[in-house]
Amino acid sequence: MVEEEKRRRVLSGTHFMMGNFAVVEGALAAGCDFFAGYPITPANEISEQMAQRMAEVGGAFLQGEDELCSVYAVTGASLAGAKAMTATASAGYNYMQEGIEYAVAGEIPCVIVDVQRCRGENYATQADVMQARWGAAGDHEMVVLAPSSVQELFDFTVRAFNLAEKYRTPVIVLSETTIALMRENLVIPEPGQIEIVNRVRPTVPRDQFVPFAAEPDGVPPLPNFGDGYRILHSINPHDADGDIHWKPDVYQKLYERITNKITAHYDDIVKTESFYLDDAKIGLVAYGSESRPALEAVRVLRERGVKAGLLKLSTIWPVPEREIKALADQCYLLFAVEMNIGKYAAEIERVSNGACEVVRITKNLGMVHTTREILDDVEKKLGTPLQ
């Protein structure tokens, strides 16, 4: 990249920025050069800002006729060599499941941002957490990142592109109304300090290239359309050559590889943050915006002499099983804090597997938990009022 282009693309410096704009700047810093979206609140600022920024950096912007157009345009552009993204909110995310299945099965790198909202209303929620994992048909793994701040919207969007390129898979940035519309400080590093991963393209000529051959947990190189490799890309079960076959062993080999390539790289994909966990006997587990009041609650509990800590999940899918299990073994009580009817709590209960008691702190009333609400629930469980 020439210096001038880098300057236009990466707005290095300190900003006071809206979360949706931070997603745009994260995408650009990661090398995004294709965006497609369909109007939906509270994700509109992403499209609006992309329309301007893509023109500035020579990328392509498309306002699709619907979310299906957007998500498939993104997969098409990706195969043509683009780093491509789309953004939507819950209702639009429903439609995109179809394209996400295609991107998983076709191993097409792309980034999808879902700004979660309450049904038809633009209030905060984390109710899409299961859809983000299980919305698409067929056997698959999903990589889903859950930012909790404007800074993390930037950082996690960069990371989403890198993981998508590295593992040839769609990556979901699971945003929320809260952080999407919030304005906070954002520090954008110099371009050279931002890690950028680009997909591996084949180095051998076409007659030696087997398009879907890889180790059982591996990622095949991906040429661009026009590179002359003439690959058949299909969601139908296909063998290493890309030929469509219905044979149980061909199918098994394919879906095992596209799931193993995620699960086998747990250490690289799964990220958590620990707060006050070293000697904790009570653990709070939270992700996204809910980790903010949860952390504050832990600080209050510590002030009052309660050995509490927070495990903040940055990657929510695949589930950070090792970290959650270790915490369940260490603590006698876990609190699962989230903004829905208690969905991810079931995962925490499953992973804890009886090692300690798991208590759910959940609500879905369009607002993030207050610290006081979390403390009230903790007090209720502990049976002693906290001063």
Binding site: F34, E65, A77, A80, G226, I244
Partner: protein
């Protein structure tokens, strides 16, 4: 002794034959038409992306030795939009059945035509959902029987060419599998056209349309039935509209030029007109 090889075999993917189409299926004819048209203009297959959605027609590009996308019903044009906006130099050709193009993908069709997306779409219209067993489709003629219209189809059929013309397509033609020369010429012209080119080819489905709708699973009977119900656009222009109901009007309806779609952030240059 050397084995004779069809000179057009070079355009097909290695080891891809025999194809999966039923004996007498029109989709295999359209595959043949396409490679003949490609040969006539020496089409660069390294720079070509062919796309099929889901259905029998969607299998046509699976046999072509090109970059190929296959396997999602109705979303061929969104794929193509993404590809063309990122790399306008790639040639994109779509093969879609009538269900793929006019039903589940109908909204995309309207908007690709409106935008004048620079792709060629070949809609093979066999008047039914052949792959799934012969259900009624948006192009099925009135009163015909299908697996989901056991007493006859009560809906009027869709004139997809008229739809594309109204939406803004810049090359629109209809032909049939009874008329290979006409179909090949139309495909060739569409491939040479800059902008949204749409070709409908009326085609026989002996297995799942013929047996139920016209009482014969014989491919020859199917092709003859198509021709009996076909008129050239010149013939049609001499008849009142009510005599054109449930007829296939063949010909080139539109061949015009206007700026092609480059996306919302790239502004057309004069050389892209």
């Amino acid at each position: 002794m050397t084995e004779a090889v069809n000179p057009l075999r070079k355009y097909l993917r290695k080891d891809s034959l025999p194809h999966f189409f039923c004996a007498g299926c029109g989709s295999a004819q359209v595959l043949n038409f396409f490679v003949q048209a490609a040969e006539a203009i020496n089409l660069d297959f390294d720079n070509l992306v062919t796309i099929g959605g889901v259905g029998c027609t969607a299998r046509i590009p699976v046999y072509l030795d090109t970059e190929t996308l296959h396997g999602i019903h109705g979303r061929t044009l969104p794929w193509a939009t993404g590809i063309k906006l990122h790399n306008p130099d790639l040639k994109v050709v779509i093969f879609a059945g009538d269900g793929d193009a006019a039903a589940i993908g109908g909204n995309h069709l309207i908007h690709a035509a409106r935008r004048n997306l620079d792709v060629t779409m070949i809609m093979v219209n066999n008047l039914t959902y052949g792959m799934t067993g012969g259900q009624v489709g948006p192009t099925t003629l009135r009163n015909l029987k299908s697996t989901t219209t056991p007493y006859g189809n009560l809906e009027p059929s869709f004139d997809t060419c008229k739809l594309v013309i109204a939406a803004g397509g810049t090359f629109v033609a209809r032909s049939s599998t009874f008329r290979p020369r006409m179909a090949i010429t139309a495909i060739r012209k569409a491939l040479q056209h800059k902008g949204f080119s749409f070709i409908e080819i009326i085609s026989q489905c002996p297995t799942n349309f013929g047996r139920k709708a016209i009482g014969s699973g014989d491919p020859v009977a199917g092709v003859k039935w198509i021709e009996e119900n076909s008129l050239t656009s010149k013939q049609a222009s001499e008849l009142p509209d009510d005599q054109l109901d449930d007829k296939f009007v063949l010909g080139t309806f539109v061949d015009i030029s206007r700026p092609v779609f480059m996306g919302g952030s790239i502004f057309p240059r004069e050389d892209q007109e």
